[in-house]
């Protein structure tokens, strides 16, 4: 089978997020050379590959952070790659959640305020957002640490705050870029368990970009990328 065209050109009707023929260039270099991918609702997919293979670019293009040079993206069957920046921002704020390598929490805000932030930005009131933030922190085992700043939390705790922040507005898809990259193995495993468990509870799909082979193997599905193309697709 030609790895460049493994799927049909129309999106999978059951997929919550689909990419078709995605191309992303930086100068003359192809970060993505024509990728097709489908993410089902509740799916948990690890994207793996060597450095520079294009996995983070794929994550950013699917999430609408970067605009693809060619190709189409569908969210629940609706094409979203042609949306303007304002609409894409709104989409990211309402339909997607993000977990970054070092949490990327707002250093000045407390844990509960960090978690409440997406709801506040979406127009929720102070009380509603803070209450939701506290609930998510409790679900992720951080009860009693609501008032701590990111600098006062351990790496694993900070990542769990980031996971809570990613889930608090009940997104359809969670994008996680090297979520355990800054953690030791055991804390990383615990953090991933927390992410997958919480995502499964809320029915969100999870896309994780990782270098960590062990972490990737623990995921239900793995997509391997090399030179901007899908090299292999493995199901657990």
């Amino acid at each position: 089978m030609d790895p460049r065209t493994p799927y049909a050109q129309s999106p999978n009707r059951t997929a919550v997020l689909s990419g078709r023929g995605l191309v992303k260039r930086y100068g003359t270099q192809h970060a993505l050379a024509g990728i097709d991918i489908d993410i089902e609702a509740g799916d948990a997919v690890a994207i793996v590959g060597p450095s520079g293979s294009g996995k983070t670019s794929l994550l950013h293009v699917l999430a609408g952070i970067l605009r693809a040079d060619a190709g189409e993206i569908f969210l629940a069957g609706q094409r979203v790659d042609q949306l303007n920046e304002k609409k894409r921002s709104e989409l990211r704020r309402t339909e997607f959640g993000f977990v970054f390598q070092s949490g990327m929490l707002v250093a000045e805000l407390t844990a509960e305020e960090n978690v409440a932030l997406p709801l506040l930005l979406g127009g929720a009131g102070r009380k509603e957002a803070i209450t939701a933030g506290r609930e998510w922190l409790t679900r992720l085992g951080l009860a009693g640490k609501e008032g701590r700043r990111p600098g006062e939390l351990s790496g694993g705790e900070a990542q769990r705050v980031a996971i809570a922040r990613a889930l608090t507005h009940r997104p359809k898809v969670i994008f996680a870029d090297e979520p355990t990259g800054a953690l030791d193995t055991r804390t990383g495993r615990d953090t991933m368990d927390a992410l997958l468990h919480a995502a499964a509870e809320s029915g969100a799909a999870v896309i994780v970009v990782t270098h960590d082979r062990e972490l990737a193997e623990s995921m239900p599905r793995t997509v391997s990328i090399r030179d901007g193309l899908i090299a292999a697709r493995l199901a657990a």
Binding site: I65, G97, E108, D177
Partner: protein
């Protein structure tokens, strides 16, 4: 790899560090240029004063030496411009007399040496308006070295000793002792150094802190890798010094251009010569070295956290809350300033009192940077409690978490508002002080003399006026002292003039002149026991009582400047009053725009070169001084405002750069840039608003204090004093708006680029 090599490598590979270094360099260049200009102002006034010292009356300290010169000094005016005139006669051997620089020769009797601008006017105007005031032979030109400023109207006129004006004094030389530089300009340059240097340094500090968080993390990592505090200090010093010294050299290179611009700004009637602003080489070197060293010192002091807790710096732990004692800084420094003002305005004040007041001002200005962060933190704390929108939460937390950093953005604005409020308090009060002068109408020209010369001067003046075809004639006006039974005021000065003449020549509102001859006064006067006092020297005085029942006519006081003057009809003077030889007599001629210069020529010629006065010129001189003040105030405030705006903008951009990864992540997660922009604008505007209001109040208070050095009362508070606060908040908001392009740049950069 040594510290310098590491610094150069970081600069080569890191674009943001390079940007910070360039901005730091520009900030240091601006600060260096401004400091070199401001510090040169006292030198410039000194050089001006030295050049013009021969134009100022001074007395020989050695009275035993025979005086070869007879000198008379006067000011004259032509077309509203001030003219300096020195009349000279040689009494002995002039060989030992040292000529002032720029004066090619000592004018012989009948010769005049004029400045180029005066010589040009003499050629352009009819002789009756100007040239006739001088001897007919223009024997040479005064060079620039003899002039206060290039376009000065100045002349030295040669006479025989017999022809000299009556007020001439013998002198051994043209100059004695040290010149007296312009005190007001020296004070203003001191204030300028304080209020402009601080915003300059804030700009430098903002630029140096542009990548502070990034550098702090890098240095903490180096420290954790085993570098000693000394090595880290070396790295920071090298990194800062490269840009700071570069900036200082750039400032030095730009300095002549700035000085050339400064020569175009008129002060005290004229511009400056190109060399006036030259600073001594030694001082220039000290200043050019001192500013970068201060910047380096500030950068090293900013590393305390890296030295004490490198782990804390690397992990970005939150900082300690600020102590409440910071609040005491303003009252304490205010008290010090108040004491300095009280001392300076006391009778025991010495020469050092001015410096003490300036030091007090500097302490007060410095106290803003102590209390400012506390206020910022308090404002942040309030917002953390009451926020409703994410912008309020983000701004409140940021202000609470890093009040020093947040205040830095508004520190320059606070200083500019302080300076503006102070200036706008002083200016209307100074303007309200304008006026005064004698009771003659503004356009009346007059010379003052003694009774013995008055008639002769009047006759000569009338003859000249007739020769020039003018209808106007002179009036000889006596001025007497009246003693009354009044515990508040012992004596009054009174012009002796009949009612129709007073109506024509003075500002007394005498009405229709139908009343019986008497005393005209703005207030009720008890004439029982009143007398006219005649002075005879050596403290001897003689009172001649008024006739009983001398009428007192109440004037409707239209002009506050004549309130305490009286007018006496000659017929109401006491019988048998003798004219004292020391009585003040004025020869006055009313003028119009058309004949003013001719009358001035006639009066000046008739009095042998004595000073010809008029209230109009007094008011014009006041307006010139006020214009000078307004001009330098506006220039200073614009400079302070631009510096403040730049430092606020740089600090805001730095705040975005420090948190670019967090902002990048928030934008990636869908946070609209406008929400973050609003938060950052609020972050900049909130402390600016609170601090500028405080700075406005303190500025007004300081303005009142400084004004009290000049006048005890008469402070005028105009609504315009609110303008600096409004403008300050506007500048802070405008500067904060740079966060939007900065955030857009963050959005455009890949998240992983760190």
């Amino acid at each position: 790899m040594n510290a310098l090599q590491i610094a150069l490598r970081v600069l080569r590979v890191d674009r943001r560090t390079r940007t910070s270094a360039i901005l730091t360099g520009v900030g240091v260049a601006v600060a260096t240029g401004l400091v070199l200009l401001l510090v040169s102002l006292p030198f410039a006034t000194q050089v001006r004063a030295e050049r013009a010292q021969w134009q100022e009356q001074s007395y020989s300290s050695n009275s035993e030496q025979p005086a070869p010169l007879l000198l008379s000094y006067s000011e004259d005016f032509v077309n509203g411009k001030k003219m300096t005139r020195v009349d000279v006669a040689v009494m002995g051997n002039p060989a030992g007399v040292k000529l002032p620089a720029g004066m090619p020769k000592l004018p012989a009797p009948g010769e005049t040496l004029a400045s180029p601008e005066l010589a040009k006017l003499m050629r352009e105007l009819p002789a009756s308006q100007l040239a006739d005031r001088f001897t007919p032979n223009i024997a040479g030109s005064l060079g620039n070295d003899a002039l206060r400023f290039p376009e000065q109207l100045a002349a030295i006129v040669g006479h025989t000793p017999e022809d000299m004006p009556s007020d001439a004094v013998p002198s051994t030389a043209f100059t004695h002792g040290d010149p007296e530089p312009d005190g007001l300009l020296q004070l203003l340059s001191g204030v300028g150094v304080v209020v402009l240097l601080v915003p300059s340094l804030v700009l430098v500090a903002s630029a140096a802190r542009l990548t502070a968080a990034r550098r702090e993390r890098r240095l903490a990592a180096i420290r954790l890798a085993g570098a000693t505090p000394g090595q880290v200090t070396g790295m920071v010093t090298a990194e800062t010094m490269i840009s700071a010294f570069g900036g200082a050299l750039l400032g030095l290179a730009l300095s002549p251009g700035l000085h050339a611009l400064a020569t175009l700004v008129p002060w005290a009637g004229g511009t400056w010569q190109a060399t006036d602003f030259n600073l001594p080489v030694g001082l220039t070197i000290v200043l050019v070295l001192a500013i970068p060293l201060l910047v380096g010192l500030a950068a090293v002091l900013g590393l305390r956290r890296v030295f004490s807790t490198p782990l804390g710096a690397a992990a970005g732990h939150s900082r300690k809350p600020l102590h409440w004692w910071r609040l005491l800084a303003v009252p304490a420094s205010g008290l010090f300033f108040l004491l300095a003002i009280l001392y300076a305005s006391s009778d025991s004040a010495g020469d050092e009192s001015g410096l003490l007041v300036l030091f007090g001002l500097a302490v007060l200005v410095a106290s803003a940077s102590v209390v400012g962060p506390w206020i910022t933190s308090a404002v942040g704390g309030t917002f953390v409690k009451v926020w409703r929108k994410p912008a309020g939460l983000l701004a409140g937390r940021r202000l609470r978490d890093d009040p020093k950093g947040a205040y830095r953005a508004s520190a320059g604005v606070v200083l500019a508002v302080f300076a503006g409020s102070m200036a706008l308090t002083l200016m209307p009060s100074f303007e309200a002080q304008a006026g005064g002068g004698r009771a003659f109408q503004d356009s009346v020209l007059y010379v003052e003399t003694v009774p013995a010369n008055a008639t002769q001067i009047a006759q000569r003046a009338d003859a000249s006026l007739a020769k020039y075809g003018e209808q106007a004639r002179s009036e000889v006006v006596r001025q007497v002292s009246i003693k009354v039974n009044d515990s508040q005021r012992g004596s009054y000065s009174a012009l002796v003039m009949d009612c129709p003449t007073a109506k024509r020549m003075t500002r007394f509102n005498v009405g229709s002149c139908d009343a019986t001859p008497g005393i005209y006064s703005s207030y009720q006067l008890d004439t029982r026991g009143a007398s006219v006092i005649s002075y005879y020297g050596n403290g001897e005085e003689q009172g001649t009582p008024f006739a009983a029942g001398v009428p007192v006519h109440l004037l409707s006081a239209a002009d506050k400047d004549v309130m305490y003057s009286l007018l006496i009809d000659p017929a109401a003077l006491p019988a048998g009053l003798e004219q004292s030889p020391m009585e003040r007599v004025t020869v006055a001629v009313p003028s119009t725009d058309a004949n003013r210069e001719v009358i001035r020529t006639a009066l000046g010629g008739a009095s042998g070169g004595s000073q010809v006065y008029s209230r109009e010129l007094r008011l014009e001189n006041q307006q010139t001084e006020l214009s000078d003040l307004r001009r330098v105030t506006v220039i200073g405030l614009i400079a302070a405002g631009i510096l403040a705006g730049c430092s606020a903008a740089v600090a805001t951009a730095g705040s975005v750069m420090d948190r670019r990864r967090t902002f990048g992540a928030l934008i990636a997660a869908g946070t609209p840039v406008k929400v973050l922009s609003r938060a950052l604008r609020m972050e900049a505007a909130l402390p600016a608003m609170v601090a500028t209001i405080g700075a406005g109040v303190v500025g007004v208070s300081v303005g009142i204090g400084l004004f009290s050095l000049v006048e005890k009362d008469g402070i005028v508070l105009s609504p315009w004093i609110l303008a600096p606060v409004a403008l300050g908040v506007g500048v802070a908001l405008l500067a904060a708006s740079v966060c939007t392009p900065a955030l857009n740049r963050v959005r455009a950069e890949p998240l992983a680029d760190e």
